[in-house]
Structure formats: C-alpha cells, structure tokens
Symmetry: C2
Subunit: 339 residues, 2 copies
DNA sequence: ATGAAAGCGCTAACAT
DNA sequence: ATGTTAGCGCTTTCAT
C-alpha cells in the first residue's frame, strides 16, 4: 500500500473551493445537525465525482473510533457447518457496509488466543466467534480492552455482555441414542467423539453415556473412540470399531464429517449400512444427502445461527444496550437411510 | 469500538520515563538503524508488559502506509475449491502477521465491482482474487488507486503487474472428452456448463465442442445444458438430459458440484452409473471420493494455487519488483468409478 | 453556513 | 542514544 496517488478529502476541497471540513460534513451523513447550502453540497459532490474520490476508512477509523469491520473466529472454514455461518454473516455485514475479517482456529487454544491478541492490535466494531477454549474471563478482557461487541456460539459462555446462541446438544445426543436403543433395538452402540476438552465434545459424550445408562446398558471402553472432527479421523475410528471381535451394530458420531468417514470405511471393509452397522451423524451438512446411504443425522441450523448472531451483533454495534441475550437453536433428528 | 480504555504508546512512554518516539523505536524492529541503550530497551519492555500494551494497527496503517492486511476475493466460500485456496492463504498470511479480509462474489459482476470499491475505501497491502468479470482495465485502476499488490487466479488477465496462476482448462476439457470418445467409446455426450460470460465457462465449452468436432461428432443443442456451478443446478441439468428421448451415455460437467448433483438425480431416476450414464466432473473436491460411485474428475490443485499465489503476493508486498509472473497449475484426469 | 484547529495513535525525519 | 516535530486522512469541536 503506497497511496501516493490516492485522492484525499483535501483534493476534493480544493477543487470544490471549500474547506476540507466542509467536505467532511457534506459527505458524512448526520444531515440535519449542521445545515449546508445546496450550492456547496452540489459543488462538493461534483468534485467527488470528478476526482473519483473514496474516503479512506483507515483514517476514519482512527478518528471516529469506529472501524466498519467485524471479525469472525471459527474453527474451520472447510466444514460446511462453519462456512454457512460465515456466508450468512458476510451477507449481513455487506448490507451494513462492514468488511469482514476472518480467522480459523483449527480448534486450537493457541490460535484462539492469537486471535484475541490480533483483535487487541486491530480493533473492530464487532466479533462473532465460535470458541472452544476461551473462557468468560478471557472474553471479558477482550471486551474491555478492545471495546468490540461480541457474540458467540457457545453454550458454556455466561458473560453478561455477550449474546450467545446455543443448542442443547447433550440432550439431543441423549435422545438420539435412546432412539437407537428403544426405537431401533440396538444394544451394542459405538461412539465416535472428540476430546472432552471441547465443551461440545464433553456434552455429547455425556449425552451418550447417560442414554446408555438410562437404558441399563453399560458403556464399553472399546466402543468409545476419539476423533478430531475430520473425515479421516472418522475413518480411523470406524476401522478400530469394526476390527473389534464384537463390533457395534450402531455408531453415533459427533459430527457428520466423522460419520461420513465412518460410512466410507465401513463400505470399503465390506459392511452393509445400515444392515450391519447403523450410523448417525451430527450437523446435517449438505454432504449427508449426497452420500449413499443418505446419512441420518442431528440437524443443526448454521444459517439460522449466523443470522441470529449476525443480527444480534449489529444491533449491539448500533447501540443496543441491555442484558445478555440467548438464542436457543433447535436440533432435530433427521432420519434417513443410514439407520 | 470505543477504545477509551485502551493503553497507548504514550502510556508506555510515561511509565518507562522515556519519550513516545523512543518507545516506537524500541518496538519497531529495524534494529540496527538507530541504536538504543539496553537500559532503555529493558524499561520499555517492562512497561509494555506491565500495561499489557498492544500497538494499534489502525494508527500504524495510517501513518506507515502499510496495513498488515490482505484481502481475498473469491466466488463462493461454500465450494471446497475456493475454501481450500482460502485456507492455504490464511495460513501463509498468519505467518507474515497479516490479517485477512474476505469477500464472496457469488460469481456476480456487481459484487466484484463492489469489492473493488471496498478496496478503494480500505486500502490493504495485497489482494488475491479469483475474478470472473473484472477486466485488465478495472484491475489496473484498482492497482493504481489503492497501491495494493494484486495476484489472481485467472487465465484471461494479462496486466503486466499482476502475477497470475492459471490452468489450461480448455485443453484439459478437450482431452477428457476425447478420452470419453476414444477411450470409452461414447458418442452421445452431454455437457453441463455454465454461462459463457465466465471465462472458464467459455473455455470449457470450447474444449468440449472442439473435442466433439475433432472426433467427427456433431454437437447436439439438446445435450448442451447450462447450470450455475451449484449442486442443485447440476440436478436440474441432468434431469433435463435424462428426460430426453435419447439421453446421452456420458455427461461432462464443468465442476464437481454439478457432477455430484447429476449423479444424485440419475440415481433417483433409477439410472445406473456408469452403466447407463458416465459422469465426469471438474476440480476434484474431497466429496468426489465420498460419493458412490466415486467421481471421475479433472483434478485441480487449489492448495497449490493458494500456496503459489499467496507466496507470490507476499513477495510482491515485501518489495519484489520485476515483470508479471505466471504459474501454470496442472490439471490431471483422475479416473474413478463414475466412468 | 462555513473555516480553522485539534487530535485519533502511530512512524520517521530532524534535531541534539 | 534519545527527544521534538510533523504529519498519515479523517471527524469534530470551536470559532466566526
């Protein structure tokens, strides 16, 4: 960036034969506050046109303490669950004339922390995040230090100034596993989870365990696999399950990527789905309907999450005060052909 | 953003008992240029620690004419082809301490233009774009007006200051269709394309037509369908093809999303793949290996594109001069089970 | 109704 | 080796 050639407000002022501050007044809205003659207004706009002037938002940010930027922190752009949140929020931001900064964390604490530091350095008006590690304290710090409004998808956050969207994924897991047991007659059920250091990882694990116990079924250690949300990890986990002397007849995976990996490897190993093993996923990404058999899954609604959170964020940016708001996002079991 | 509570360089200076410009000197690298006493350096760092100071990049940008931000303009974050470019570039940017702004165009000219205007308002150090509509002239304007370095994935751009990555997708299409004819014995081949206003849409259409003609086969109008890159449009196009009195025995789709939609609808309509219809896609997105049959496709290498372009961009940002560079990205036919 | 001037937080040229 | 000064391009008092 060398804006040597850039045209500034000063240039416009000179051409219009007015002072630079008059140009600023004409161009900034705040219409009624200070009256400006029609003649001047016209001359300024003509000069703007003629020079092709665009205001420099960096300068405006510095002065006005308002950046017209928001930031999004998500785990992984490759996952449709996240990128459809992002897409929705981008569209909302565009309407409000805000640019959007984006950061992936790859589910890592280190990157979440690095994101916070980046925000300290480059203030933005608002932050939408899906944190897996950040605590209320850290977010409080971010909030106070940057002045940004923050909204999050996170059941575990209780900060009084952070609007959150959340889903009862523990309960949904419980219900789905119970349905696998009561409705479908499964007894040997495998679990492809993720590290319990991830709040949703822990909640879904709890939901699973409680459902098994509520049905009087024990939890077999060898049925509890841990992946990392990726297709490849789902493949590995399923292979381990299927290599067992007595493999499960149903598998609950904590997201669709892992479920899809599980189905893939089951096919490769010659298993029939759902005949030999039933598989349930989580999220309802578009791919669930493209693979065969179509995946039974717990539907989340990322576009809805993005919309709720995005709009909440801009309401806050535009000055809305008041207590923390929570948006419960439903989860629905979509029964397809993998069960 | 109300940084009322933010700690500035002035605060650090006061606490360390030095002038603000000394703090600036200590904190900015450029180490040897001006020597600073160890004692002062130490005091400054202590003050920084104690106050938890972070430099304000907005202010730095304004003054230094260097934003530490890059922008990425792509068509659609939902498409793995694009988001894997983005992922790669984000990782590169992170290493160089640059934040990344991102914009989707949805393949629309209007949004590409809007993106250019956004860049006029908010200068960035570099722009990586995948333009479908912007011309060399418009990019020249962007370049001169913003001072940003620009790199692009675009075969049709020839601007002397824009490094480009490109693939011979016309030739790859020609080869793939020829292979369908000579290697697989197909004669009735359908085409699921996109608007020819998109340069790659035009090139792939030309590759298809030329391959048919080179083989002495005519091009049947009713076999030429037009989609919009989406799964849904591939479904519609394939349905139209299969509803024909004499449907094609092979279909070439201009991207994997449309190919996957095509396979999906073919299954639903009771067709066997590749028995009744063979399908070839374009891109080699991960989903091609998840669906059944696994999709035969022309592999592009988005991570490679992102890496080449991302590194080229930062080389330019860091001062590399010299003529336009072009990076040819190979395309390879991956034969799987859909043909 | 408009101009002059201060200053957002920083960097860099110019003093010592 | 460090302090002083002048802006980067804008918004916003404070004058007039």
């Amino acid at each position: 960036m060398q804006r040597s050639s850039a045209v500034t407000m000063r240039d416009v002022a000179k051409l219009a034969g007015v002072s630079q501050s008059t140009v600023s007044r004409v161009l900034s809205k705040a219409p009624s506050l200070v009256p400006i003659s029609d003649e001047t207004t016209k001359r300024v706009y003509e000069a703007v046109d003629q020079l092709g002037y665009y205001p420099n938002l960096t300068a405006r940010s510095l002065r006005a303490q308002q950046t017209n930027m928001i930031a999004i922190m998500i785990a992984d752009l490759s996952n449709p669950f996240y990128h459809s949140i992002v897409r929705t929020v981008q569209d909302i931001a565009r309407k409000r004339h805000h640019d959007v900064l984006i950061a992936n964390t790859d589910h890592s604490r280190e990157y979440e922390t690095a994101f916070c530091e980046a925000m300290m350095r480059r203030p933005v008006d608002g932050i939408l995040m899906v944190p897996y590690h950040l605590t209320d304290d850290e977010i409080d710090n971010l909030l106070r230090r940057t002045g940004a409004k923050i909204v999050a998808l996170a059941k575990h956050l209780t900060h009084p100034q952070v609007d959150v969207a959340f889903a009862h994924d523990d309960r949904a897991t419980f219900d789905a596993v119970s349905w696998l047991i009561q409705g479908k007659g499964h007894v040997r059920i495998g679990f492809i989870g993720v590290s319990k250091t991830f709040p949703p990882g822990l909640r879904r694990w709890q939901g699973f365990v409680q459902a098994m116990q509520a049905a009087g079924l024990g939890v077999r250690e060898d049925y509890m696999q841990e992946g990392d949300w990726s297709v490849a990890s789902g493949q590995r986990a399923m292979k381990a399950l299927l290599d067992l002397p007595e493999p499960p007849t149903a598998v609950f995976a904590c997201n669709d990527f892992m479920a899809i990996g599980a189905i893939d490897v089951a096919h490769t190993m010659g298993y029939n789905i759902p005949g030999d093993v039933a598989v349930v996923g989580f999220d309802n990404i578009p791919e669930t309907m493209l693979i065969r058999p179509k995946l039974t899954t717990l539907a989340q609604y990322p576009a809805e999450i993005g919309r709720k959170l995005g709009e909440a964020l801009f309401e806050r940016i535009e000055g809305l005060e008041g207590p923390r708001r929570t948006f419960e996002i439903p989860i629905k079991l979509i029964e397809r052909d993998s069960t």
